[in-house]
Symmetry: C2
Subunit: 258 residues, 2 copies
């Protein structure tokens, strides 16, 4: 079986033109098939501000009303996704942009409006890899943004980390899969103020302990839950760190094991 | 050879939610492979207004500065293209959204800045049908918006009529192609104030005569030039009219012949 790298990038790469440019250059040099997943960074909030649309958050999560969904669709699927595709083509990396509606790849259901109404937020039901596999086997790199659909005509805002995990899982029936979460830190830290405190290996026993001790908390919890979910569903390798882990040997990062 | 319908829709369909919904329903019922091309209608100007970005036009053509290109990319490739894809999926028409950067399908060159600087406006150099053909042969409908790229990382705003003609021409090496320009009129009119004045057949001799007489003028000229360009380059059939010509037999429209 071929190995496919599934790589998720966050705001620290997307928000900075030069960092994105360099990342995409290095990404293009990576050998073998790969899939890129990106969120929207702060561009969606920037556009909302320009359009005088209020940004509503509960517990750090965006409330996606109809106008916010339009903004997200414009920024994620339009501005950011197409900028990435154009830059990859300049690097001779043939690529295709996706939302979960394209190729009917990611079907989701609108999250229940109780207890909190997050609006047009989608929870993934099914990933359909027919078109991504067709493209991968024709040397084309799929590039997904964090939007899904309900197959009834409704687009839905969906967490990019979760999309990355579910795509990796779905591709694991056909390929050996490696999932990389690239973010602003060099890995999972024991001390969020100390970049030298990377935990290089985490397994489920250690994860439970670190959670109980309150060492890992907040935003790291859903990210690590996605990591273990992937590993428990046939993804071969899961790593968390900054993007150097993809391009430079021996870069400190966090390896997740079951 | 299979027959592929290449269908371009304009603002009269895109600007009206209900009309778009009905068009996409009927489009989904059309048998056989098809490709859809859309422009942006007035949404881009609406967003520019909301963002206080001036809309600059010369001779009815938009001047695409960097901010306008961002707006166009967000509206065409994001909002409109993804709305269309989600609706087609709801109709069980599997489809994929494209700019010309996706799959490296449409390479263009930035138009010379003299005598008029149109900004990031692109003139098509080459259509690469590898990915569209791969999708068509897997029962997936490509949906193109009016954006191309220069293969050096730059997206470019490109006329949707021209994109439709060039895609039809490029697909003519593999398929029998039929090109349909759907717009707000029932066809090419001899009197723009009289919808009953449709010219049902135009060949190149008649076209020259109608131009000389000033019967056909302004915006119809580039559209008809695209029609003849397509017919002169192996497109089998070219029609101009409202979208009823696709769905209802014996609908009055204009057939273009060489």
């Amino acid at each position: 079986m071929k190995t496919v790298k599934i790589i998720k990038i966050g705001g620290n790469i997307i928000n900075n033109e030069k960092v994105l440019h360099n990342f995409l250059y290095n990404f293009s040099q990576l050998e073998g098939p790969k899939v890129l997943i990106h969120g929207g960074g702060k561009s969606a909030s920037d556009l909302a501000k320009k359009m005088n649309t209020p940004v509503n958050m509960i517990n750090g999560r965006r409330i996606t009303d109809a106008q916010t969904l339009d903004i997200i669709t414009m920024v994620y699927a339009g501005k950011i996704n197409k900028k990435i595709i154009a830059k990859l083509q300049a690097n001779n990396t043939n690529s295709m942009g996706f939302t979960g509606a394209d190729g009917n790849t990611i079907k989701a259901t609108k999250r229940s409006s109780s207890p909190i109404d997050y609006g047009f937020a989608g929870d993934i039901i099914k990933v359909n890899t027919q078109i991504p596999i067709l493209l991968i086997n024709n040397q084309v790199t799929p590039v997904f943004c964090a939007i899904t659909h309900d197959k009834n005509g409704q687009l839905l805002n969906t967490n990019a980390d979760t999309i990355a995990a579910e795509i990796a899982i779905a591709l694991s029936t056909k390929y050996i899969t490696e999932l990389y979460y690239c973010f602003e830190e060099p890995g999972v830290l024991t001390d969020i103020n100390n970049k030298n405190s990377v935990i290089e290996n985490i397994n489920s026993t250690k994860y439970t302990k670190l959670k109980d001790q309150g060492v890992i908390f907040k935003g790291m919890l859903p990210k690590l839950d996605n990591c273990f979910h992937a590993l428990n569903n046939k993804v071969t390798k899961v790593s968390v760190g900054n993007s150097d882990m993809l391009f430079k040997e021996n870069t400190t990062h966090t390896s997740i094991k079951i």
